[in-house]
Subunit: 333 residues, 2 copies
């Protein structure tokens, strides 16, 4: 176990929050420069990666360099994993180990950013022993900064405790997934084949949405289906309690590390997207940060019949009952 | 034609913007009261209408009464149509005629509001001769107020002209719907039958999303699929240019009237969701406010090869090619 004192952790937290504010300002400055016009005829300059929905903008690189530089100067002994440096490197292995590590996505919701759709943000996590213990997410277009440090609570704009409703925290619906808001993303894998993730995802979404008697009894009649185009924002909104269930495959540790820290500190649960064979009775495993498969349930209140954790487990099983296995590979995770 | 002078219209616009601010404040006050806790065990008090996803809260009624009262006092000769008064009445007819008319949704995104998911807003439109000429939308959780008056431009927070990118306004992608952000909603009709709207919608969404060679050649490979749970916010974001295409059936005139005013003033196009038989050559009809069927395209820039309007028409046909006919009825519209 890495030894970091509470005082050191407090200092790292304050530093991370300020980093998030500064990096968010850089994102918003870049957005404003585009609004003011620069003669570009269609969209921001970008380089296509795998296909037209996987973009990397100059802004990603600039913001990651800014964060990397600030961290290296202040904490030269800490490890740093950022989306852009990872993508530029040769290895596709999972690189998070026990060392004190910063896990950063300089711009989550890149497609949103290129369209100036407001759901984009910077995501900064600090992990010890492979577990994110500090998370900062700043969505500057929305004036929303989310932050947490282990033992200190999770916060919106440093003043509003998460989840938003506290006295008491609302219980999860007895007939979940009915009554629940369900967040999910269509993703970049758009193959039109039964083994493709898009087809598996949409089949699962339809089970969650359909009337209870529909879909061969798998209908979940959720309260609403939402897609924001940002895994990080999905997790932040789950920590708020605004999203009850988030189910997703395909994103990476920098997309979720800060969100996991904030969600868990707020009292939420996160586990794997893929249902185990014995999903009705299996233990609910803790999330594997690099697994690319995530299922999050919002913070919940106890009831006379159920603890919060029991109710979250119940909702996890109700989701597992309705979703297909997704196929995303990850060496070393 | 109803005679309203430019001076009168300016005065009505200023009044509508102030109404939007005040009503948005009421929504946010109600949200804050819930955050501060009131002993409720699960959620805000609400009365179920058709099913568990069709809610009407006390907040809707209070805010509509506030707006109705203010309008009646200031403009006793104007007609008023609000979601809650309409729903409480006996008629299901389309009630908008040539008279100067306020068309109001006190709380759009009611499901979002009950979960404190930030995409909720008040929507206020003023129509003459059946056409919305003033629109005000206030989403207080997001600090976003959208407004427009015929001939005066469309605005975010009264200072940022819409669309967000102006110099020049970006052209629509040449290979649209690829490169486009596509907004769509799952809606309340969750019947699991081929003639049900959910099944027709999801089939259409999948055509828009799949790889180009997929779905029997109908694959559209859109840049991203987004669902916000609010028709009003979808339209406002299309006016911003953040959403390229919004396709929807099932909502009502109070959900879209202000958004249509703002979108059209920003330079966007809005027509019907349902493809005509000869969709490749048919004239693109102007939107029918009460039709419950909408297809909106964002404001666009001209190119050497195409006017903005030609490119919007091209994108409309690319959508019509890929979507199923939706079935929503409306007497008198």
């Amino acid at each position: 176990m890495t030894e970091i004192s509470q005082q050191q952790l407090d200092e790292i937290y304050a530093f991370a929050v300020q980093l998030g504010k500064d990096a968010g300002q850089m994102l918003m400055d870049a957005a404003r420069r585009r609004m003011q016009g620069n003669g570009a005829t269609t969209s921001v300059d970008y380089v296509e990666k795998e296909n037209s929905v996987d973009l990397v903008t100059k802004t990603d690189n600039d913001v990651e360099a800014f964060i990397h530089n600030a961290v290296s100067k202040k904490y030269p002994d800490h490890k740093f994993i950022g989306e852009e440096t990872y993508s530029a490197g040769a290895s596709r292995d999972y690189l998070v180990d026990a060392a004190p590590t910063w896990i950063v996505d300089p711009l989550d919701g890149t497609v949103n950013f290129t369209h100036l759709f407001p759901m984009f943000c910077v995501s900064i996590a600090f992990a010890i022993d492979g577990v994110p213990v500090i998370g900062v997410i700043n969505a500057p277009f929305l004036h929303q900064t989310f932050s947490s440090c282990r033992g200190k609570g999770a916060w919106l704009n440093e003043t509003q405790r998460l989840p938003l409703i506290q006295n008491p925290v609302p219980a999860l619906p007895a007939n979940a997934p009915s009554g629940c808001t369900f967040a999910c993303e269509w993703g970049k894998d758009r193959r039109d084949t039964p083994e493709g993730n898009m087809v598996r995802k949409i089949d699962s979404f339809m089970n969650m949405a359909a009337e209870r008697k529909g879909r061969g009894g798998k209908g979940g009649m959720v309260h609403g289906v939402r897609s924001l185009g940002s895994a990080t924002m999905d997790l932040a909104y789950t920590a708020m309690g605004s999203i009850d269930i988030w189910w997703e495959g395909g994103c990476w540790e920098w997309d979720v590390a800060a969100g996991i820290a904030i969600l868990e500190e707020a009292g939420g649960l996160i586990t794997t997207a893929n249902p185990p064979a014995d999903f009705e009775t299996a233990d609910i495993p803790p999330v594997k940060l690099g697994s690319r498969l995530y299922l999050a349930i919002r913070p919940a209140g106890d009831t006379p019949d159920e603890t919060a954790r029991q109710s979250q487990g119940r909702v996890v099983r109700e989701v597992w009952k309705r979703v297909q296995e997704l196929s995303y590979s990850r060496p070393g995770a």
